[in-house]
Structure formats: C-alpha cells, structure tokens
C-alpha cells in the first residue's frame, strides 16, 4: 500500500481494453461505453449490471478471495443467487485491488474506460492509488462514480453499513409500522441498498451526459445515506413544512385520504385510494355513500384529512359487505385505485401482467442452470435494453489478461 501511494499518475502505461466478445452486439443506448466495475456487495454491482443492460461493455473485477456477497445465502445449484442477480451481462476478471502486482492491469483498463465504479469505504481507493485523482490524470474523460455508506466527510465517513442500518439512520424505518406503534425495518429485501444503486446509476448517466457536452469527465459521489434520504424526498418535504416527524401510519397515509388497506368480506385485504376529486366522487357513488351527510360535506382533501379516522371506518364498513373479487373489479372500472394484496405464496413474478411486460426473466448460467431475475426496467423503441446472462467469477480472466499481455508486447513502453 505504501508503494502504491508513491505511484506516479501517468506511469500507468497505455490504455488497453479487451475486445468485446464476438457474437451478438449490444443494442442499448450505451453501446460502446466501457465500464470498469470495481465494486462489491450489491449497490455497485447492480448499478453496473444495469449499465450492461443499457448496452455498456462492463468488465468486472472480482477479488481472488471472492466478493463477500457470495457468502450470502441462498444458493441455486451451488451458486449464490444474490451474486448472480447483480452481475448479469458482465465479463469477470479476477484481480486483487489490494495487491500492487495487479495494479498495472487495473490501471491500464482504467486508462481505457469511460466509467469506473467503486463502492469501497470512503478513502480506500485513494489509499490504493486508484482514486479519481490518479485515474483521471491519465484519462481526463473518465466518469468516476463512488458510492459509500455515510459519505466521505464528517464523523461517520469511513464507517460501513448494511441495508437495515441505512434504514434506521436515515429516517426510512421511522415511517414504517403499525399506526402509533414502534418504527420497524423493512426486512431483508435491501430496498435501500438497491435504491442507492439507482442513484449511483443516475450519477453515471449524469456524468456521461455532461461529458458529451464538455468532453471531460468528473467524479460523482452518492452514498447509502443520500440514497435512503432521497427515497423519502416527499416525507422530508412534509417534515420541513410541519416541523413534526410523522411516524408510522400502518397501511395509511397522513397526507392522502383515503389511501389504505381495507378488509373485504372474504377476509382478503385490498388497497384503496381516492387521489382525485373524480375518484372520490366515484368511490362515494359506488359505495352508495352519497347520502351520508357528513361525508358529502367533505368536499376538499383537507376536510377529508381532518376526519381521516371517520372516513377510514366508514370505508372499512362498506368494503366488508362484499368480497375482494367484487371490489377489485368494480372500483377500478369506475376510476378508483383498488388492488388486492397478493398472498404470501403468490409471487408477483407469476402474474400475467408482470410476465407479459418482461418484468421477470429467466437467465441461463453456463454451469448452474437457470435463475429468475428482474427484467430491464425500461423499454427503448430504437435502442433496446438487453438482459445479459450470469457468469462465474473470473470466467474471462484468461481471455482478458491474454489480450492485455498481447497489447503490452505490441506497444513499445
């Protein structure tokens, strides 16, 4: 590490990028963009996975001791599912960022890359001589994007964090829970981590759009804390206006009434919202409530919000008279949002709508069989996104290192 700090920017040698694999060429809007993925766990890897779906050529560096996310269960046919879902469509080369003997290779790739992604703890990459300062010196067009836990300044810079800790610290958990109950953490679906990954992807695209105009790259940073706070943009707006933290509201909303889960006569819960004046009128008409005098006087949202408990009780009484199958047909037809809460054994990925929109796809691992993952989040009419396949770590090490060695032999140093 000491020697790496003495590394002179500019001595990295010539940029080399391994020729993309022969075969189907990428069609996405980012075709031709070279991404060097130096990330681990999920936030960084999923952002790079999305860049691959958008057509970028992603080379991922896997450490020889394995990305720590590989220890997270479950596995499918022996391969960790989380690792698979976050590394689709990349080529993987095994290199050790902590071993300076591998640095020449990393630096040559970084010199050729359009984008470098990293999500180490704040300060780590600078210490390894792989920070923005070093890499941009030889490659000023580089868009270098970092995602840390708590940012790169302040008393908690350098601290790590997991998804539930991000939820707890950022206020995200404080809005979840039974009404009037204790705040609770959203269990284990890593929504805050992957939400942060969305902001990291946003940052890369911002950097690329800016570079298209200016010709120069930039260092863009986000963090789990900023990602988690960003997810609460509307709740923070309300706190700034009221000065009062809102706390858990069950399935309901403190700023949109009615909007909550209600139980139907068949015991099934549905979600019901009246977000517009038209939806509110249609709801009252469908439920035959237009004659209820106090309800008819609630012509503004503010009036409904003031009587939230009364409104919710009246709606609960009305919905408990018929089964969920009735309400989820009749109410949406009249313009009122109303859907069934899917039961525990009913996977969203089995719904016809989800399948037809390609929101869940099955991808094939070269040796571990197939696995279901989310499909691309976007559709591009002229430059279609494409989901790549999972690979074993290091599947392309030989090919990539071979090409770099050939290039080194060909170019006088």
């Amino acid at each position: 590490v000491q020697q790496m700090q003495e590394h002179e920017p500019g001595t990295a040698g010539h940029p080399v990028w391994p020729a993309p694999p022969i075969g189907e060429q990428p069609t996405g809007p980012l075709a031709g963009v070279k991404v060097l993925d130096l990330t681990a766990y999920a936030v960084g890897p999923w952002a790079a996975c999305n860049l691959a779906q958008l057509g970028a050529d992603v080379v991922r560096v896997d450490p020889p001791y394995g990305d720590p996310i590989r220890a997270v269960l479950p596995r499918k046919n022996g391969e960790p599912t989380t690792y698979m879902s976050c590394t689709l469509g990349k080529r993987s080369v095994v290199l050790d960022l902590k071993d300076e003997r591998d640095h020449a290779t990393v630096l040559r790739l970084a010199a050729a890359a359009d984008v470098v992604l990293e999500n180490s703890r704040a300060g780590t990459m600078d210490r390894l001589g792989l920070g923005y300062g070093s890499l941009s010196a030889t490659n000023p067009r580089l868009v270098y994007c970092s995602s840390s836990s708590f940012g790169d300044a302040g008393p908690m810079a350098g601290m790590g964090s997991t998804d539930p800790q991000g939820q707890a610290f950022s206020g995200f958990a404080s809005g979840n829970g039974a009404e009037g109950g204790e705040p609770e953490v959203l269990r284990y679906i890593a929504l805050v981590d992957l939400g942060t990954s969305m902001q990291l992807l946003n940052a890369v695209l911002v950097g690329l759009v800016a570079r298209k105009r200016s010709g120069v790259g930039q260092h863009l940073r986000t963090s789990q804390m900023e990602g988690a706070m960003g997810l609460q943009m509307t709740r923070f707006a309300e706190f700034f206006a009221s000065g009062t933290p809102s706390g858990p509201a069950g399935s309901g909303s403190r700023t949109l009434v009615p909007s909550r889960a209600l139980r139907c006569s068949d015991g099934v819960w549905v979600s019901l919202t009246a977000h517009t004046a038209e939806a509110w009128q249609a709801l009252c008409a469908t439920l035959h409530l237009t004659d209820v005098e106090w309800l008819a006087s609630l012509t503004t949202h503010e009036a409904r919000a003031e009587r939230r408990e009364d409104v919710d009780k009246l709606l609960q009484d009305a919905l408990s008279e018929r089964p969920s199958t009735w309400w989820t047909q009749v109410l949406p037809r009249n313009g009122v949002p109303c859907v069934r809460l899917r039961s525990l054994d009913e996977k969203p990925e089995q719904q016809e709508h989800v399948i037809r929109n390609g929101l869940v796809r099955r991808v094939a691992h070269p040796v571990r069989g197939t696995v279901a993952v989310a499909g691309p989040m976007w559709r591009f009419e002229r430059t279609p996104a494409r989901l790549g396949d999972p690979e074993l770590p290091g599947a392309h090490t030989e090919e990539i290192l071979g090409q770099i060695a050939d290039a080194s032999a060909a170019v006088p140093s």
């Binding site: 829970g177 679906i189 890593a190 929504l191 969305m198 509307t234 933290p245 700023t255 819960w269």
Partner: protein, 415 residues
C-alpha cells in the same frame, strides 16, 4: 456554461414538457430541472392531483408538490379538448423531451402515439412513466403509491403475518419509478452522436420489480430454504434493539474476535460469551435473532449515544433509529450539508455530488397552477388572439379563473 459548472448544468438548454402527476413523473422532471433543463409542467386548470393532498402546506401548496415543482414553469391546459392537444403538439415541436403518463391505449386515443409525435418532432425523446406499465392486463388500472406497493408485494416484509398490513411509509415506488424514467431519458440523451428521437417507457412497478431482483432470484427454487432473504416475509417485526432512551440498529457480529469479547465484557454480557450458540462468528451467524434477544437486557442499560459509541469503538457498526428531526440534526448530515435553507424553506440537496460542486439544489419558488401559461405560449409563438381563442375553446383557463387554492395559507408558513 464553464468547464467547472458543466455537471450541474449538464442539461442546460434541454426543453422538457411534462404532463405527469403525482410523484414518479414529477420526481423525474425535478431531477432533470436540477441539472438545468427547462421544465414546463402542463397540468389541468385544477392542477396536478398531488396539489390536492396534505396538510402540511407551503404557501398554500402541499409540501411534497411544492418541493417537486420548484424551478419548473406551470402551464394550465385541458388535454381532454382537441385544442389542448393541438397546443401540446406545438409545445413538443420545439422541445427535446416529452414526459407523460400515457398508456399505449391512452396515447392512441389522444393522437399522441410515438409515430404521431415523431411526425411533429423527429428528435423528440418521448417517455411514458405510469403506475403499472403502458401495456398488459394491468395497464389501464388506476394506481397510486399504495396500489403499486401492494401489487409488488413489498408490504409482506413489514408488519406480521395475520395482522393488519403495513405499507412502506416513504413513496418508494414513486421515487424509484421517477429514477427509472430519468435513466431512460438520460440514456437516450447520452448516446454518442446526435440524439435519436424515440419512445422510451418505464413504470413504478417495473422499478419496484427491478430493486426486487435479489429477492426474485433468492426465491426461485433455492438449494436450501436458508438465509434471511428466503424467510423474511414470515419473520417477526424488526424494531432493532432498545436502549435506555431509544432504539439502535446493530445487525452483525463485530469484526475482531478480541474486540467482540471485550465489548461483551464491557457491557456486562459475560454470560452471552459462554452461550454455545454465540462462541464463534460461525455459530453467531445463524443465531443472530437469538443473539439480539440475549443482548437486549444489557443494551437496555445504556443510552443510545453511549451504546453506539461503545459498539463503534469495538469495530462494530451501530446506528440510532432516527426520526426525521434527529436525521436533520445529526452531525453527519450537517457535515455533508445534505439539508439547506432555500427561500425560507428547508430542502434536501440532490442525491449526488460532483467533484466540482456544481450540482446544487433548486431554490426557486414553486409555481402556482398556470402561472406561466401566457409567457410559455408566447415564447412558443402563440399570438395574443390565439390565446383568446384557446380560452374560448376551454383549452386554457380564463385569466380570471380562480387561482386554485389547494391548502390553507395560514398553515403555509415554513418552519
């Protein structure tokens, strides 16, 4: 635009017309405006439905709508009239991005299909962001944040089996759907060479399924029904652990075995060290729930601040479970400057920072419905008598149309 300010002004000169309502689309155009795009918010005379929510209010506008619309201009236009659609097409002729919430069916009914839009402007990037998607069995279902959360199944990871459902308090599908729309638009603009005019689309549900990819893979017939992902739906509510004066989240064993032992001894939890379930990191891993319960009585003896400090000193990670006030007042949030005061109103800074510090929060006031109708139409070449005709055709509200006062101005004072 100087080289120093180029990231923050990456979209300067890019003209965006946005007909979306609620959170998802407006969050996308909020991010576009943050980077310097000129966003024209086209809304009905009564305004985006989000203007009819709340309290709390800022200057009579619901707080969420206020923050989302800062820095945009508002044009009141009735898109249910033929004249309104004609005006929209004229705005789109001179624009770069059209952000809307039309399904395929809705676009066809209004004469706003991708082909019809390209006939007006071949370079237009036209982006649909809806609740469930622009096509498929659920496309025409009305939906808001709650319905998308319910459909995507996110509710099952809160609350407890057999008890009343709990939603995620934050508008996660709205914000994530807005991010996905932002990505679709930016990717279309970022591609090398001249911008290829095209139709792009996403949805709140697509974004929610996207961030669920780890769970989708984990639940796809795994080798063993093992690990926290697979059983998350049936676990009890997770409140973290209680301290003497609050809650903290402490979710993983400490990194160094000596420091772990020293930490347990320091808080008086010697008997936890003797429990065979907790003797090594390997045995603690599958017994984390039990470990948390075993440590709870010791954690309850200390205040939050003191306990967090002890854990951090032992190389562990612990954070307080904070409400929004505590977050905003935390020294870490202050050190990064994540909350700023703008026009008497606090606001979050954008979720990414550029090395040149050029990405700055929007500080302009939020427009009232239709505040910029006349100015924007004039800038697009509409003559005064054309504007009068549009009022006559009810496509544009009359100048004396009562200003939509959605909230109570007395409560509108910013804190």
């Amino acid at each position: 635009v100087t080289a120093e300010s180029v990231v923050g002004g990456a979209l300067e000169g890019v003209r965006v017309v946005d007909t979306t309502q609620g959170v998802a689309g407006p969050y996308c155009s909020h991010l576009l405006a943050t980077l310097g795009a000129e966003v024209v918010k086209v809304e009905p005379a009564d305004g985006d439905w989000l203007r009819h929510t709340g309290p709390p209010y800022v200057d009579g506008t619901p707080a969420a709508a206020y923050q989302l619309n800062r820095g945009k201009r508002s044009v009141a236009l009735d898109l249910d009239t033929a004249a309104g659609t004609t005006v929209l097409l004229r705005l789109l002729r001179d624009s770069d991005v059209f952000l809307h919430d039309l399904t395929e069916e809705g676009a066809a009914a209004r004469g706003l299909t991708p082909e019809e839009l390209r006939a007006v402007n071949p370079h237009l990037v036209d982006c649909s962001v809806t609740a469930f998607g622009e096509t498929g069995p659920w496309a025409e279902l009305p939906g808001t944040e709650l319905e998308v959360q319910s459909t995507g199944g996110v509710w099952r990871y809160l609350g407890a089996v057999g008890e009343d459902p709990v939603r995620v308090g934050a508008d996660v599908t709205g914000i994530l759907g807005g991010c996905a729309a932002f990505q679709a638009v930016l990717a279309a603009l970022a591609a090398d060479g001249p911008v290829v005019g095209q139709h792009v689309s996403t949805s709140q549900l697509a974004a929610l399924m996207g961030v669920n990819t780890v769970m989708i893979a984990a639940l796809d017939d795994p080798d063993t029904w093992d690990g926290f992902h697979t059983n998350a739906a049936t676990y009890p509510r997770d409140h973290g652990v209680s301290t003497a004066d609050g809650q903290i989240y402490w979710g993983q064993p400490l990194r160094s075995e000596e420091k772990w032992v020293a930490f347990c001894q320091e808080i008086g939890a010697d008997d936890v060290l003797e429990d065979p379930r907790f003797v090594t990191r390997e045995t603690r891993m599958p017994n984390q729930m039990a470990l948390r319960q075993a440590l709870q009585p010791y954690f309850s003896r200390y205040g939050t601040e003191e306990l967090v400090e002890k854990v951090v000193r032992s190389d562990g990670i612990a954070v307080p479970l904070q409400d929004h006030r505590a977050v905003v007042e935390h020294p870490q949030v202050a050190a990064l400057g994540l909350v700023v005061e703008a026009e008497g109103m606090r606001t979050l800074v954008p979720p990414w920072r550029a090395g040149d510090d050029s990405i700055q929060p929007l500080t302009a006031a939020s427009p009232q419905v239709g505040a910029d109708t006349a100015a924007v139409l004039a800038a697009h070449g509409f003559l005064p008598d054309e504007l009068d005709q549009l009022v006559g055709a009810r496509a544009v509200p009359a100048p004396d149309h009562p200003q939509q006062q959605t909230g109570n101005t007395e409560q509108g004072a910013a804190s």
